[in-house]
């Protein structure tokens, strides 16, 4: 076991200050771990020089964690970090060759550290013995030199009281001149620069060795030194023992930690040191230093001069998102003030003033842009964690997988990034576990043994797309159907009716797992439906494309909300609108004098001859009902012969917009400029405005609406089927409160119209009036092998009495667990897809989902379950 000399003294009651310190420690440490993990994965491939850098980086992170943990009395963390650090130090100092097994041991130690830290302020009681043993084994699995291992590890714990290092005046500066220089020379490479860079303090301590002096005292001091900082070098000769200690503590705090008097610590001046230390050549090092790897240090020396450190250290500070939001708002204000200033002084003759103004103008814009960017993070920050996931999992599963990351620099709002981690992890795990085959199987079908898993991010259609693509086995639609039937998700008939694409989509159904065996990583049958709901919670969509034997592509589309969006700003009247660039194909300006035939009206439908086709034209002013501006033609039918008479005042600005496969032209008054905007979601009250995807604040501080081009087309009654579907789907994705349903409309009495979701209906039977039989008070019909009870709606709800329209009537058989009952219907009107918002009144009870107007008639939407559930209770 390791010496943990400070533990006993740290058992004080935790007060608020400590809690705060622990919270700081937690965030800092987690950040360290996050930085370190990718480094590990680099180690294995890195050349020697890079490896040294990497090991150094890991070492520094672990060391900081250790130091702070020691200070906070978190002994388990401290011990584990210490052991990891010792191993790393040996690698760094060249005492040990780096071996791949070390990665596993270190990673697992790091994971454990991670779980300790995560749990803070709770102190976990996990066993670290195993990790310690592994680490120690690695550390002592002797490299060629296998010098005396870190004394702290070998020395049995000693009680603190044993340590009473004698003070002596000999440690005062003048006398110490020689040893100081010597120690500085033997300090590990870069350590001194680190001390300076991190603002640490450097102490020199020396005390005489007296006869009969307990050698353990030196070890104890050494480990105490390690707990509060870092022993950079030590030196002993016949009559004294000196240490060089790097610590964040001040002398008056460090001294009691080390168990020595404050006066015996000499703080060295870093400024003068750096000059002194650098010229002192490594050769000057003493020979009697157990920890000083003189040869290796020389080898490292050339690497040290390089500016690697500066490049490595990403200089960041933590800032609360609220502060960033405030900054962003303030920058907006500044822009506003700037604009006022510019317009006030526009005509000034003073050239000096003009110069200043221009400067302010520029700086303000840049400031705003930069502040906006602070909230954005590259999606790579999520992607990079998969290096580890893929490495670990493929190793466990005995598969060979190469991870390719693409579009890591696509920026997404921080909050979306944070929410993306879990669903992506699910997808990657699924791909590794179920999608990708073992090397032998891959070779057998002629694929390369190493599978490729790709994570891609890109912008398209105003959405951020993220794809998880594997070249594995793909999804077999036939298997999906079988599985769905076996699990009771679908009946055979329903399954067979599914298209291959729909069958593949079944992976998102709840409780679905096709893997032959359940593994510990995935295949628990949750997963994919969770992914779907997570993404949908973000307002996104998930799609899957798969070809059997070729691979699977899962695409997540996230809404533009929160993301920065490149747009074109257009004007109608005094109002401005932002149109997402991704929807914009081109801008066409038509001068009617020059090309009188290009815009034509055919029965009120205006089209543009464009690239050999006819493009339907929509006037934005019409769609949005903006008063007092130039509009499109009257919608009354125009005489066909007069078609070419229609002649809007030139020029006509037409934006050619794309919505999926379709295009249309949107006519606006003015085309301003392109602008990158931050999308702000609309308030609840405005979600009913379908034409808008959101709002944004323009450079001059005014609000502009962002157009949802699909919805604009739908509102203009452009009859692309797909267009409308897309629009309503996108709308419901945006609002989340109205859903698309496919319903069967029917009547019972001549007056009332009802709707039941098609999903809820198993069968629709058309029977003659005379096929209804009465037994007691109950009506039945022959169905299957027996009789099926029938229900009249007026028995369950306060509605008009059922009345057949003629000889025949319909019976709706809903899908309700454990109940087979038919509902009598007078007429089946239609099946429609609708996303109307249902209004529910409490008096309706559970059997009524709500009311809405469908096809011009007030329609009552029924819930088959409660409707018939009530009826069975009554009849039983």
């Amino acid at each position: 076991m390791f010496a943990a000399p400070r533990a006993s003294e740290k058992d004080e009651t935790v007060n608020d200050d400590d809690l705060e310190l622990i919270a700081d420690f937690k965030t800092e440490s987690l950040e360290h771990f996050e930085q370190v993990e990718p480094l590990f994965l680099e180690i294995e491939e890195a050349d020697e020089e890079r490896r040294n850098e990497v090991v150094n980086g890991i070492f520094r992170a672990v060391h900081s964690v250790k130091g702070a943990a020691g200070f906070l009395g978190l002994t388990l963390i401290q011990d584990l970090a210490h052991a990891s650090e010792s191993l790393l130090m040996k690698v760094r100092d060249g005492e040990l060759e780096y071996r791949p097994e070390m990665t596993d041991v270190l990673l697992s130690a790091l994971d454990k550290l991670g779980s300790f830290v995560e749990a803070l302020p709770e102190e976990l009681e996990l066993s670290i013995e195993e990790n310690l043993e592994d680490l120690q084994r690695m550390a002592s699995a002797s490299g060629p030199e296998a010098p005396t291992a870190d004394p702290a590890q070998e020395t049995p714990p000693v009680k603190n009281d044993d340590l009473e290092p004698e003070e002596s005046d000999t440690c005062l500066a003048p006398a110490a001149e020689g040893p100081v220089a010597q120690l500085l020379g033997s300090a590990p490479q870069g350590a001194l620069e680190d001390v300076k860079r991190f603002g640490h303090r450097l102490f020199f301590i020396s005390f005489p060795i007296e006869e009969g002096h307990d050698p353990e005292a030196a070890d104890l001091l050494r480990s105490a030194g390690e707990a509060t900082g870092k022993v950079l070098a030590e030196h002993s000769d016949d009559d004294s023992l000196c240490f060089l200690i790097d610590s964040v503590l001040e002398a008056r705090l460090l001294a009691p930690e080390l168990g020595v008097e404050e006066e015996s610590l000499e703080q060295l001046d870093l400024e003068s040191l750096s000059q002194e230390a650098s010229p002192s050549p490594p050769q000057e090092k003493g020979t009697a230093q157990p920890d000083a790897p003189s040869d290796d240090a020389k080898k490292e020396a050339p690497a040290n001069g390089k500016p690697q450190r500066a490049a490595e250290a990403t200089e960041t500070i933590r800032v609360s998102v609220r502060l960033l939001d405030q900054l962003m708002d303030l920058a907006g204000e500044l822009v506003l003030a700037r604009n006022q200033l510019v317009s006030q002084l526009r005509d000034t003759e003073d050239t000096n003033l003009r110069g200043v103004l221009q400067n302010i103008d520029l700086v303000t814009s840049e400031l705003q842009g930069d502040i906006m960017n602070t909230r954005m993070q590259p999606v790579g920050s999520v992607f990079k964690r998969f290096n580890r996931v893929v490495r670990d999992m493929s190793r466990n599963l005995g598969k060979r997988v190469e991870l390719e990351l693409e579009g890591s620099d696509v920026d997404l709002d921080k909050s979306i990034i944070e929410m993306l981690g879990d669903p992506l992890t699910h997808l990657v795990r699924n791909a590794l576990d179920h999608g990708i085959e073992v090397p032998a199987d891959r070779a057998a079908v002629g694929k390369s043994e190493t599978a490729i898993l790709k994570l891609r991010a890109f912008h398209e259609n105003g959405l951020v797309n993220i794809e998880v693509v594997d070249d594995g086995n793909g999804i077999d639609p036939a298997k999906m159907r079988d599985s769905a039937v076996a699990k009771g998700i679908l009946d055979r008939e329903g399954a067979d009716q599914l298209s291959n694409q729909d069958a593949v989509m079944l992976i998102f159904a709840a409780g679905f797992s096709t893997a032959a065996k359940v593994t510990d990583v995935s295949g628990r049958g949750v997963g994919m439906d969770v992914v779907k709901s997570n993404i949908e919670a973000l307002g996104g969509k998930v799609d899957v494309e798969s070809e059997k034997g070729k691979g699977t592509k899962i695409r997540i589309r996230l809404p533009l909300t929160l993301a920065i969006l490149p747009t074109l700003i257009v004007g109608v009247g005094d109002e401005r609108f932002a149109i997402p660039q991704v929807n914009l194909v081109e801008v066409v300006s038509v001068h009617m004098e020059d090309e009188p035939q290009r815009i034509e009206s055919l029965r009120g439908a205006v089209t543009l001859r464009h690239r050999g086709g006819l493009l339907p034209l929509v006037w934005l002013a019409d769609v949005l009902d903006i008063p007092g501006v130039r509009r499109g033609p009257e919608t009354e039918p125009v005489q066909e012969s007069d078609a070419s008479d229609y002649n809007p005042t030139p020029p006509v600005n037409i934006l050619v917009l794309r919505v999926d496969q379709n295009q249309y032209g949107l006519v606006v008054d003015l085309i301003h400029d392109t602008e990158e905007i931050v999308v702000k979601p609309l308030s609840e009250t405005l979600k009913v405005c379908r034409s808008f995807a959101g709002a944004t604040i323009m450079g001059d501080g005014r609000v502009a609406m962002i157009l949802d081009v699909a919805s604009v087309a739908a509102n203009a009654n452009l009859l692309f089927n797909e267009l409308q579907q897309e629009a309503s789907e996108r709308h419901s994705a945006a609002t989340g409160n109205s859903e698309m349903r496919e319903v069967l409309l029917f009547t019972s009495s001549p007056g009332d119209q009802f709707a039941v979701e098609l999903d809820q209906i198993v069968r629709l039977e058309r029977i003659g009036n005379d096929q209804i039989e009465r037994v007691g008070g109950q009506e039945f019909m022959q169905y299957g092998d027996g009789g099926m009870p029938l229900v009249r709606l007026e028995d369950r709800l306060t509605v008009g009495a059922f009345e057949p329209a003629g000889e025949n009537l319909f019976v709706l058989i809903p899908r309700v667990e454990g109940v087979q009952t038919g509902i009598l219907a007078r007429e089946v009107v239609d099946t429609v897809r609708t996303d109307v918002v249902l209004e529910h009144e409490d008096s309706d009870g559970p059997a009524v989902a709500g009311r809405a107007v469908v096809g011009g008639r007030l329609t009552m939407f029924l819930n088959a379950g409660p409707l018939l559930g009530v009826s069975t209770e009554a009849t039983l």
């Binding site: 939001d325 308030s683 604040i697 609406m705 209004e839």
Partner: protein, 168 residues
Amino acid sequence: MSLEAIDATEFEQGLACFRLGEGLFAVDLKIVAEINPHLEITPARTAPSYVSGLVNLRGQIVTVVDLASKIGLEAAPITTDSRLLVLKTDAELQRTHSGELSTSPDKVGLLVDSIADVVTPENDQLEPPPPNLNGIARNLLWGVCKTKTDTIGILDAEKILATEETEA
């Protein structure tokens, strides 16, 4: 929410009074974040008629509710006296009043014709809405406050801002 449950201490910070057409109305001052004269309203076309549009309040987008048309009065044109009563959001109220008060999850501003005094009512000044109140949706009123010269209708912001699904 019934009047019996309310005593004047409910409005200890006062009532923010304002004019709408001929009438004097008020909301609880506690829910008012600020009163703003900047009214560069961007219209939200196709929105419900009581939504005047959107304004930028230091980088935040505020939905402007035309209070007059929302409570069934005639909407007046915007003048130099017009003010925007920006309300605290639910989240902001949660912080200060731990959820006892509620307005709307979104940042909403009430457009009023002009702003009047802050009145701190005594118990005996508060009354339920008079039964013959016409033109104003009675359920949006919390009650009235009588002063020497005026009768002030106290509006229930939460009810006013409850989204109306019928607009869909």
